[in-house]
């Protein structure tokens, strides 16, 4: 049972307050996309051993979605930030680099 901090309402709560929503920073593929691109968008999800970016919703709190950067091995949470962004903010990337130099996740590093 993870402990997460909601960046929208500022509450730090335990996992039962939150709802996990899968991989973050997906780019939606709609009509006109190739079969392969659409397939990748829907099904080919990251499953890393280490740094990962996930969507979470503060379902039993403020109801807002946010993104958690965390480590799937050590369970460390590097930081959380609001979902309204296409990429991890610099301070989050720096926090990860401080702990995991040389990390990579999809196009981000």
């Amino acid at each position: 049972m993870l402990i997460l901090h909601c960046p929208c309402c500022g509450v730090t709560g335990e996992e039962t307050e939150f709802h996990q929503g899968g991989e973050a920073h997906l780019k939606r593929e709609g009509p006109g996309s190739s079969d392969e691109a659409f397939h990748t968008y829907l099904f080919a999800k990251e499953n890393p051993r280490g740094v990962h970016f996930e969507r979470w919703r503060h379902a039993y709190g403020c109801g807002k979605w946010f993104i958690a950067a965390r480590d799937t091995v050590t369970l460390e949470v590097y930081g959380t930030y609001p979902a309204q962004t296409h990429e991890p903010p610099p301070e989050i990337r720096e926090a990860i680099t401080a702990k995991r130099p040389g990390w990579r996740w999809r196009a981000f590093a």
């Binding site: 993870l2 402990i3 969507r55 480590d71 369970l75 460390e76």
Partner: protein, 1003 residues
């Protein structure tokens, strides 16, 4: 003979007696006894039969690690299987039975398995039961099911009370031995809020039995003083009979408190599950002694040396008059010395080490005990009870040097720290070569949200084995835990405890080291699951190199004790067979709980009416008062029907349908999801959410819409109402409201966050009543001066009106196919409106109808129901709903997926109506067969029934189903096998069976 000694037993109250029964036999013990010590005091060494060979088994240990002494405890509804006698406190009236035998413990037919042991090696099940294939279903599986599992399932229903308790602390210390006490004290002195848990009823752990001194005082006095100090500290919580069951992410800890197992009949809950968030967790969980692997090490009377000592000191019980001690370390000498001091005989101490022991060995020799270095046991003599041992050289192959008569064997293969809780959440271990044990690796602890470790091991659990080392280690752990939670440690130094100088342990994984096959086949590793040294060696030869694979192949460590005694010995044997060092083999995964916890404790109060919250509409009370027959729909309770007098469900449903079709009926539709979507971009947003075009909907109008997920599959449907230019009201299914609201928020917050839209789930803010039937308008006009005529309020329109003086939103929408109005009023006025309609409707014979009548009427109209016609693999096109899919829109959620090859395939199963040739009702879910068989020998299928009812309107069965190319096959007859072996024939027809042109609803 095991017996009660005349003196001793520091836990006993010898002035009182407690009566109990074992297999119906009356026995007596004292308050303070465990069931195990009381059984031994009554010379009941034989307590069960092993799982596979049904070998006679006796008590081996004195604590949670006990593999053999499992009993069925209690009677009737309070019966519980697999209870460990060693951790069951004796109480007056306790009754228990032994397990896994027939007809009796003493005479067990299953023991014939032992004669065939040669033919039942590791992996026997997998090898034996493969061929011939048909035998599996008819011969092997029924047989295996009968013999599988230890113990019996209790009768349903648990009469006791259980509860959950949420707790928060800076430092949680697990284990109330000397290490736990000192760690708790050190943390508490620093100012941390501390919780100290001890799984037994006693504080101090093994130290009182092992002896020693702290700051010059006997350790027992130090324990009492420290406990008293902790009890005086307001920021310290102490709980005995409370086990640390599991350590989870980020400092989450489960405690399992057996509140009143030992005191049945008290009004306390039986078990309490502690749900703890701790800043730091200190595992002071001690160590468990390992058995030695020699032939016959499972004969009743062979026990752990520490257990023999515990029973003697704590309970005044001797396992036998003559006890042979066999060991590879110095600790077991304490058992010999203790027994000798009590006046019992020690025929010999067999020390497998060539160099023998240290100071304790000298002390034993000084007491006149015969000590043999470099010797071991070749074989234990005796069947149901030890009668003697055959001695051999440890270095040899088992040639017998001498036989010694004895009635108990105390064995010690060294100590293994209890690393379970450290390991539950990812803590890693290191192999300590010198001590021959795995201990926690402080560099690789379980980590919290901040990336720092949140578990510290202390004392024997950390590999510190002498009293002095334990106290120093625990003190440091307690201080470190306090510091990690922001409390500066105090200046008090660790108390000084006795330091023993013991001779080093010699790892002994097999006795003798070159034991021949016949001996290895009788050398038990896992007592409960009957795994022997030879089985693990066979697994290694057959290629099971991973310790996890070898575990599952041999079942080593898979019993209820989860290998607490067997794991280290087993993986050492595996390592030896694979020719690799022990750390390379590693351990199997430690998973919570540490010992089994009751299902009832996990459920807590969440059972019966409290299992989940019940949602009730504003009219629920009226339904109850008027005899509604309820059914659960999501978390709601909705009336299924309203039976009258002696009426059954079926008659009631038919009556409600007839009344609605012929005159007018009322439905409480308040449970329907209602979500307001508002903002300049609301129309654009709903165009993405629904397959239809919603932005073109005019204020004052309603439109039925379909919602798909990004996979293209239909997930919800409902009527969308345009309230004004910027505001829509989306109706969802009863079960879907919260999920659909979440779905909307997901897309708004994470994809189209720049769109100006707000959503609000107002499901419970409105009561919604459907007034349906040819007389619906007449009824409403009796209560309203507003114009509700077809001209003023046409089909699929809505208006605001006052009905019986109550402001209502009146929708002309119909789920029955009749002239129908859905009235939405503030929740608090719902009942008043309902009652007004019931009174005003008397002249039309108005009556409420339930969900079943609603279902039948919608099925007669061919309306789909989410969850009946859909199952997460159905797209709108499968249901003939192409008319509700906009061709004009470039995009909507699910559109791209519906263009994928499989989705556009004309060979998909599609919605049709099904009409049985004989008028009967098709079984819901029945499959239509197709010619030929599939790869599993089953009939091929070409469709299935998704909804099926008796239609009182048509006087016969009606059904909908998904059929391969169904709409192209109108008039064809399909065959549906039924469960009783018959076949029902049904013709493919149009799904709309009633009023196809919609003349009745559009008036």
């Amino acid at each position: 003979m095991s017996t009660r000694l005349a003196t001793g037993g520091r836990r006993l109250d010898r002035s009182r007696r407690v009566a109990f029964t074992f297999n119906g036999k009356r026995m007596q013990g004292h308050p303070g006894d465990t069931l195990a010590s009381a059984l031994l005091a009554n010379d009941q060494m034989l307590v069960g039969r092993s799982f596979k060979y049904h070998r006679p088994r006796g008590i081996v240990a004195s604590g949670a690690e006990e593999p053999n002494a499992l009993v069925g405890l209690g009677e009737g509804a309070r019966f519980e299987p697999n209870q460990r006698a060693t951790t069951t406190e004796l109480f007056d009236g306790l009754s228990c039975i032994s397990q896994n035998h027939w007809p009796s413990l003493e005479t067990d037919i299953g023991a014939v398995n032992g004669w065939f042991a040669r033919f039942l090696p590791a992996g026997f099940y997998y090898k034996m039961f493969i061929h011939p294939r048909p035998f599996w279903k008819h011969v092997y599986e029924p047989f295996i099911r009968r013999s599988a599992g230890l113990g019996k399932v209790p009768n349903p229903g648990d009469p006791d009370r259980y509860e959950h308790f949420h707790f928060f602390c800076d430092v949680a210390v697990i284990g109330g031995g000397v290490a736990g006490l000192q760690a708790a004290l050190a943390a508490a002195e620093a100012g941390a809020r501390v919780l100290l848990m001890e799984q037994t009823a006693h504080w101090g752990g093994r130290a009182p039995v092992d002896g020693g001194a702290v700051e010059g005082q006997p350790v027992v006095d130090w324990i009492d003083a420290t406990l008293a100090r902790l009890q005086d500290m307001p920021h310290v919580t102490l709980r005995n009979r409370c086990m640390g069951a599991g350590v989870y992410d980020h400092g989450y800890l489960l405690g399992y408190e057996r509140v009143s197992d030992h005191a049945p009949g008290s009004d306390a809950p039986r078990h309490r599950l502690w749900r703890i968030r701790a800043g730091q967790i200190v595992t002071a969980t001690g160590a468990i002694e390992r058995p030695l692997s020699f032939a016959g090490n499972d004969v009743p009377g062979v026990m752990l040396a520490s257990a023999v000592r515990d029973y003697a000191v704590d309970y005044g019980v001797s396992a036998g008059d003559r006890t042979v001690v066999v060991t590879n370390n110095d600790d077991a000498y304490r058992t010999a010395i203790t027994l000798k001091t009590l006046g019992l005989e020690i025929p010999a101490i067999l020390d497998a080490r060539q160099q023998g022991g240290g100071a304790l060995a000298e002390e034993a020799r000084g007491m006149g005990i015969r000590v043999e270095n470099g010797k071991g046991i070749a074989k234990v003599k005796g069947g149901r009870r030890v009668t003697g041992v055959a001695i051999c050289a440890q270095a040899g192959e088992g040639a017998v040097l001498e036989e010694i008569g004895c009635d108990a064997v105390a064995m010690s293969g060294g100590w293994s720290p209890v690393v379970h809780l450290w390991s539950h959440c990812g803590g890693k271990l290191i192999w300590d070569e010198a001590l021959a044990l795995f201990r926690p690796d402080p560099a690789q602890p379980p980590r919290g949200a901040d990336g720092a470790g949140f578990v510290l091991a202390a004392g024997s659990a950390n590999g510190a084995l002498s009293l002095g080392a334990v106290l120093a280690d625990a003190h440091a752990a307690g201080q470190a835990a306090a510091e990690a939670t922001g409390h500066a440690p105090g200046a008090t130094p660790a108390p000084q405890g006795t330091e023993d100088t013991e001779a080093p342990i010699a790892p002994v994984w097999l006795m003798p080291q070159g034991a021949r096959t016949a001996l290895r086949m009788k050398s038990w590793l896992d007592y409960q699951n009957d795994v022997k040294v030879s089985d693990v060696q066979l697994a290694a030869r057959e290629g099971y190199e991973s310790v996890e694979h070898a575990k599952r192949y041999t079942t080593l460590g898979m019993a209820t004790d989860q290998g607490k005694l067997s794991n280290i010995n087993g993986l050492a044997i595996l390592s030896d067979a694979l020719g690799q060092p022990i750390p390379q083999t590693g351990t199997t995964t430690f998973r919570p709980p540490y010992t089994p916890i009751s299902f009832s404790a996990i459920a807590g109060a969440a059972r019966g009416p409290l299992f989940q919250p019940v949602r009730k509409t504003p009219i629920h009370g009226w339904h109850e008062a008027n005899g509604a027959d309820f059914e659960p729909v999501g978390q709601w309770h909705r009336p299924y029907c309203f039976p009258r007098g002696e009426e059954g469900r079926h008659e009631a449903v038919n009556r409600e349908i007839r009344q609605t079709r012929e005159s007018v009926g009322l439905l409480d539709a308040s449970t329907l999801g209602k979500i307001i979507v508002k903002g300049p971009d609301a129309g654009r947003f709903l165009d993405m959410l629904y397959t239809n075009m919603m932005s073109t909907l005019k204020p004052g109008r309603c439109r039925y819409g379909l919602m798909c997920n990004e996979n293209g599959f239909l997930m919800d449907d409902g009527v969308v109402v345009r309230l004004d230019e910027e505001t829509f009201l989306c109706h969802t299914t009863t079960g879907g409201a919260e999920a659909i609201h979440g779905h909307m928020e997901d897309w708004l917050q994470c994809e189209w966050w720049d769109w100006k839209v707000h959503t609000a789930n107002v499901t419970e803010q409105y009561a919604q009543l459907a007034v349906a039937g040819p007389n619906a308008r007449k009824l409403l006009q009796k209560l309203s001066n507003d114009d509700l005529s077809a001209e003023a309020l046409p089909f699929m329109g809505w208006t605001e009106a006052r009905i019986s003086g109550i402001p209502a939103r009146v929708h002309r929408i119909s789920f029955t196919g009749e002239l129908s109005f859905e009235l939405a009023v503030p929740a608090g006025r719902g009942l008043a409106l309902w009652e007004a309609l019931m009174v005003a409707g008397e002249e039309f014979g108005v009556m409420p109808y339930g969900t079943e009548a609603m279902h039948v009427m919608r099925a007669e109209k061919g309306f789909i129901m989410i969850g009946d016609e859909t199952d997460g693999t159905v797209i709108p096109q499968d249901l003939g709903l192409d008319w509700a899919i906009s061709k004009k829109k470039h995009d909507y959620i699910g559109k791209r997926a519906q263009q994928r090859a499989h989705m556009a395939d004309p060979n998909r199963w599609k919605l049709v109506g099904l009409e049985t040739l004989d008028g009967s009702v098709l079984p819901d879910g029945a499959y239509a067969t197709a010619p030929g068989h599939n790869a599993n020998g089953q009939r091929n299928t070409q469709g299935r029934v998704t909804s099926s009812y008796h239609s009182p309107t048509l006087g016969r069965g009606i059904a909908m189903g998904l059929v391969h190319r169904g709409p192209d096959r109108m008039g064809e007859v399909l065959e549906f096998p039924t469960l009783d072996g018959g076949i029902l024939k049904a013709r493919i027809v149009d799904p709309v069976i009633y009023d196809k042109d919609g003349e009745k609803q559009n008036v």
